[in-house]
Symmetry: C2
Subunit: 216 residues, 2 copies
Amino acid sequence: MNNKRSVHCFQVLSLVFFFVLGIQDSVQGRLLSVSKKPHRNDAAAYARWLVSQNSWGVLNTISKDLGGAPFGNVVSFSDGLPNEGSGIPYFYLTTLDPTASNALKDKRSSLTISEYPLGTCGKSDPENPSCAKITLTGKLLVVDKNSKEEEYARSALFTKHPEMKGWPKDHNFQFFKLEIEDIFLINWFGGPKPLTVDQYLQTKKSKLAFVLSKYI
Amino acid sequence: MNNKRSVHCFQVLSLVFFFVLGIQDSVQGRLLSVSKKPHRNDAAAYARWLVSQNSWGVLNTISKDLGGAPFGNVVSFSDGLPNEGSGIPYFYLTTLDPTASNALKDKRSSLTISEYPLGTCGKSDPENPSCAKITLTGKLLVVDKNSKEEEYARSALFTKHPEMKGWPKDHNFQFFKLEIEDIFLINWFGGPKPLTVDQYLQTKKSKLAFVLSKYI
C-alpha cells in the first residue's frame, strides 16, 4: 500500500514537474508566489510583486497618426494566475483600439504601473519615490496563435479579468505580450533600482518553486 | 447706504472679473466646476471631470536612451484648484527623472488617465469602455519662470499635492504643462468620442462662470 502510494506520488510529482517545465518553457518568466509585498531592497521581487498585484496599467506605443507621438492607453493585463505571476504582461487587445494597430506597425512599447491604486503607499503622494512605479520597456508582440503560450495568456487574462470571455467575437481581439528589454523601477529614494531583465524574470528563491508545493 | 453697498459690490465684482480674466488669459482653459460626474454624452464635460478628479496619471515621452521607445512614467498632476479645473495638466518634474529630460530633447508627449482609481466604474473591468479613459496628446513644455502661469501651476499643484512644497530644492524641480493637441476619450461603447481641444478647453455652460458666483 505504501509502495503504491509512493509510486502514485512520484507519478503526480513527475506530471507536475513537466507541467511546470512546460509552462516555464512557453512563458519564459519563472513562476513566482508574489502575494506579500517584498522588502524594497529586493528589487527583482518587488518588481514582480508590483506587476503581479496590479490588474491594469498604461500601455504605450508610437502613434504614426499623431506625428510619432508616444501614445499611452489604459489597458488590463495579467502576468499569470492570481498570486502566481510569470513576470511577463499579457494583454487582450482589439485592433479597433489604436494601441494594437500602432504595435502592428511599430513594436516599440512600454507598460507603466503604479503601486498607488493598490492602496499600499500609505499617505505618500503618487509621485513620491516611496510609492513604487515600474516601466517595462520592450516590444509589444502578438502571441503565436494556438500555441501553449496563447493558452497560458488566455488562462492568465480570463482568470483575472473574467468579463473578457464575453467580449465581442467580431472585434478581433488578440493576445499580445510585452517582450521586456529594459526595466525602470523606483520604489524608494535614491533613483531607479538597478535591475536586469534576467534578474527580474528569474528571481531567485531559497525554496523549491512554490507551484510544486501546491500539488504535493 | 444702499448706494455705497452697490458701489462696493461693483468694485468687488470688477476685481473678481479681472482676476478671472487674468487667470483665463494665463492658463487658457476656462475654469470649470467639475465635482459631479457628467452624463457620458457630454464628452467635453466628462473629459474635464476625469482630468480634474484624478491626481495622477502616466506621462509619456520619447526615450532616446531606449531607442526612441515610448516611455511612460507615473506622475502627479493638477489642472487647477480642487473642483476648479482649467483642463490643462501641470506637473512638477525633476530632470533627475527621465521624463523631464526626455521632454527637453523631444516635446512630443501624452498624458493618460483612467477613471478606474476614482472608484466610479462599478464592477466594470478597467479595460471595459464603460470605465472611462482619456489620453491627452501634445507637447510637454516648461512653464515660463516667474510668469502668472507659473504662479497658477504652483498653486494648482501644491494645493492638490501638499508634500510637493517640501521636495528637495537641489533636485531642480520645474513646472511643466501639457499643451494639448489631440484628445482620445472613451467613456462608453462605440469607440472614441469626437472631441476637439477647443471644445474641451472652452466647455460651455448655460450659467455664468461658476467662479464669479463664489465671490458674489
